[in-house]
Amino acid sequence: MMRVLVVEDSLSMRSFVRSALESEPQLEEVEVVEAGSGFDALRLLPRGPYDLVITDINMPDINGLELLQFMRKNERHRATPVLLISTQKSEKDMERGFKLGATGYLAKPFSPEALCQEVVKQLEAAKVDQGKDGG
């Protein structure tokens, strides 16, 4: 069972992601946990672990970059892949995201296929890393 935390303040966007991931045949048994803000994410993270965190960058109060930095500083979440989503325009924000340790980036708007493809990629890369570590 894969567990994915989706951090996004738009309800429909969360529904979209959930609906896409849950109907993707390559992702057997995926459990999507939704957080409506950066704070909700901070509350939900200790209830992890999560195999992947998908977060919007632009959110009120705690933004996606701040959440990402928090995770990278925290031993428990340091290795969790983080997929950022934001609009094509915000290149600077995306750049900063990669410097902070984001493992992927998806520009809005995206299709369900593009999302699933990226999620599968992220999860597989994480498995390889884990293999290295554990091996």
């Binding site: 738009s10 429909s12 901070l42 970059l65 930095q69 809005k108 890393d129």
Partner: protein
Amino acid sequence: MAEIGDKAREEFFSEAQEIIEQLSRSLLSLDAAEKGGRSDPSLVNEAFRAVHTLKGLAGLFGASRMGQLSHELEDVLDDLRLGRINLSANVLDLLFEAVDLFGHVLTAEREHSDEPIPQLDELLMRIASMGQSAPSVSHPIAEYDLDPGIMAVLTEYEEHRLRSNVEQGLGLFRLRVHFDLATIDKALEDIKQRGKAHGEIITYLPTGEATSPDTIELDLLMASSDDLATLRASLGAENIVIEEVPRRRISSATIPPPGLTGQGPVTSVVPPKPESVVPRARHSEIAPQEAQGSLRSVTQTVRVDIRKLDHLMNIVGELAIVRGALSRTAERLRGEGMRQLASELHRLHRTFDRRLSEMQAGILEVRMVPLGQVFDRLARVVRQISREVQKEIRLVITGAETEIDKLIVEELSDPLMHMIRNAIDHGIESSRQRESVGKPPAGTIALNAYQKGNHVMIEIEDDGAGIDEAALLEKAVRIGKVDREDVGDLTREEILALIFLPGVSTRDEASDFSGRGVGMDVVKTNIAKLGGVIDVHSERGIGTKMTITLPITLAIVSALVIRVASQVFAIPLSSVSEAIAFDERGIRVVDGREVMTLRGTTLPLCRLRQLFQLTGTRDGRGFVVVTEVGNRRLGLVVDHLVGQQDIVIKALGETLASVRGFAGATEMEDQKVGLVLDAAALIEEVLAGIDAPRELMRSNG
């Protein structure tokens, strides 16, 4: 493309609608702030975020025109929030227009319509022609010794706000706060509110160093013109430590801090290497309740399609019929001597009755929404029209929290909008005229809502010129609505009520704003469809007040069931004030209309038997049901009072829908169908002196 479910699509539409309303509210606040000489960057950012979210959603759900509009607007708002353009009245106008257009576009997307929307193309062209100036390139932030960890996580907007504050010479402060995770929302809202008085909070960075798993430590970066001592005195607390961000020494001031230019590498922030990764915790290591807890949803609310609530309400209505049957069965058992069984059944019936009432009340409560939803839209209309006609208008809203059935709110928005247009266009005088009679130059429109018993009252009051009764009367005579010889007999109230007749207006030429195909007659009809009435009061030179009385809900009503000849009718209790025994001897005839005296006042009567031309023997000793809607009363003469019953009103079929006087049909306890009388329409018909029976029965036949 993978299928995105209908449910997700529905959620998209309702969220888009909410976002547009929120955008409208942000713009109204922004407009008010600008007019008050304050500028509030957080409002611009709120508007930006709203449009940004819309754009993202439009892209996902293939709503291309909405995507196009939000894309262009996002650019404008981004320029605004990043200080590349200034917020002028023109830009605000454009934003307000866009809000209206979003409404059209959303409807078109929902209905899969690809009809061209010319206003959209026009607005997009105007946006495209707006220029922008280059952002300033100085880096005064370099003067500050800011933690690179903070600089690395600022979004472009936050960085801009930081720069803009520093450029204005404000000092920077770091607030290190410890909060309980469970109550963090409230705690932060509190500090945000208190902080507002001293400056702007730029960002909230979780440090990752907490004292326990239930607490969190955040670094807040704040810009303020106050000094450290003032901030400490005002914001400091046991869990909040405030420090000033020191300025750098001279030599480093020339080096831009990392991350600010978007070009230089951020050397101080090292992304974690996969090799250094700590092995992940396995699922088995999680405490059971933690794993369980994670399944909980974050929000405590659900969205419900109103049709589902209607369905529930219908079931409740059917259960009410079962309740009646239970009661009758208990009576029958008692009659047949089975007292023990009868009283057991009676007890069950009582419990059932109580629970059913609770259920009804519960469903009704779910359907209720605050009137503020529609008032926000009206505030936008006021702003727009007052600019178009160049009148200064102050809108004062009270009672926005008053709740009413969602369906009624939807239907209310057009009539209210029309009345507001009327008030601005016809009611309020120009500033010059106002000043010449000693009024303040700005006109005031008050929009008040409050609950009164089973009704919600909405008042639209303006301090304009009032209705010209003579002109109104003249017009009514000219178009043949009033005979010239009857003019002297009309009371002031009756004259003012002429405004609701079709074709009557105090102006000969309808203006652009009020002459858009709907007059006050249509407003009145639409309000009547909701079971409401509208009254008008006006004083020359002082102003006009329209009062709308509406039922709180249309879904389920308590009704008085009556019988005339062999026909059964229901009258909603909300419009019944009392029922008294009918006494033929107390009847007088005034102006060809039957009336009786009720506690010193004259009550006009209407015999339903005659009105509906029912034949058949009289079925009881006769009662007068006193109906009251707004400030008008009418006594309905009926044969027999059957009793009180909760009914679910169902719409009449197409052939009967146009018949005035009936609100719908309902299923009675004996499973027969009865007609529900529309008291407001009856009062209207009868008191207007129109030949009601013929009118009603003609449409009926």
